[in-house]
Symmetry: C2
Subunit: 182 residues, 2 copies
DNA sequence: ATCAGTCGTTCGTCAAATCGAACGTTTGTT
DNA sequence: AACAAACGTTCGATTTGACGAACGACTGAT
């Protein structure tokens, strides 16, 4: 996949998300319509300033234009995972995720009380959600892929569909949620 | 900061990391020495194909060239943080980190036993470390910035200097460690 | 139905990015 | 010390990306 094609798709996608016309975006970015049109058709070899102007007009970081889309389910149970750097067995380190470079990602600390359910609507397309259960027992995931997780479990799943968090224990639980594209 | 200057710094940095001469990199990337030289001096307005060729020769993703360097200490106590989306108080969500797009980042589950100490040597320059304490009491950080953390605390600190994790409780503890550049 | 407005594309012109060669400087080898 | 090799920079020639105008297609309003 040549870089121009990747960028073309990204621009089209982001422009549609921003609900802008090609002309409007070109005007806001300060580039010629013709230039933008060629770009979106995967033609040419844009300069970095042109791309910067477009990314700014779309209100996204430049790197958004270089994403390679991918999304998958990953679950790592508390007693699973690639154990690393376990010296003298005083410390155990387990690799849970190995995320390629991508756009902004947020980390949340989440507590759920008393066997309640929390629905989360779909995040922007391409978003991936990482959940790590610090205590308690939870049922997490998209409705058609709910997983029961116990303390120490890690679960990664696509966040661009509706999903939910449900506490299965009486007391409050801690889970750590990270959102990222991938 | 204009994009060309950012890219200039990134290329210089990555090329030095790869221990390549300007000429060698230019040859491997298939671009003229003169072009690369101008780029590294923040002149001109490179095309995306040129950047792609350079990034490929450096064996890094294109987005590595658009990083905005920053590093700081952030600590969010269990009872602190920007609380979000707390409906019906059944679920509390707290934003711990808001990471700009950047390169690969790893997530680890770490357990430390019985009041032991774990030293970690410095990671590559620019690495940031996120620590979230799921249970127990820990002392974490670079030697000159050790913080005592309790359950639910979050701590972000530069990972490019030697740092350590020390368990302050009798039983095993869980902490979640994420490494990332920023 | 007609007209005005906007949509996205195509084409010729001009400015600029890329190239290759030559340059001065530094490194290390004989 | 003298030479050779490699380093990074600077300079014209050429390719090429960005622009602006004109285009046909489509939508809505009068």
């Amino acid at each position: 996949m040549t870089p121009v094609n990747l960028i073309a798709k990204a621009i089209v996608k982001e422009r549609s998300r921003a609900k802008m016309s090609l002309s409007a975006l070109a005007a806001k970015a300060g580039v010629a319509k013709s230039t933008l049109s060629q770009l979106e058709n995967g033609q040419g070899n844009p300069s970095i300033e042109t791309l910067w102007a477009i990314a700014s007009a779309l209100d996204i970081p430049l790197s958004y234009l270089f994403e390679t889309p991918k999304s998958e389910f990953v679950i790592v149970r508390a007693d699973e995972g690639d154990h690393l750097a376990s010296d003298a067995s005083s410390l155990t380190s387990t690799l849970l995720a190995d995320c390629p470079p991508s756009r902004r990602r947020d980390i949340y600390r989440v507590t759920i009380k008393n066997g309640s359910v929390r629905k989360s609507s779909a995040h922007p397309e391409g978003t991936v959600e990482h959940a790590f259960v610090c205590s308690g027992k939870v049922k997490i995931g998209p409705d058609d892929n709910l997983k029961e997780l116990n303390e120490g479990d890690y679960f990664r799943f696509p966040g661009d569909v509706e999903h939910s968090y449900e506490s299965l224990t009486d007391n409050s639980i801690y889970i750590l949620i990270m959102e990222s594209p991938v």
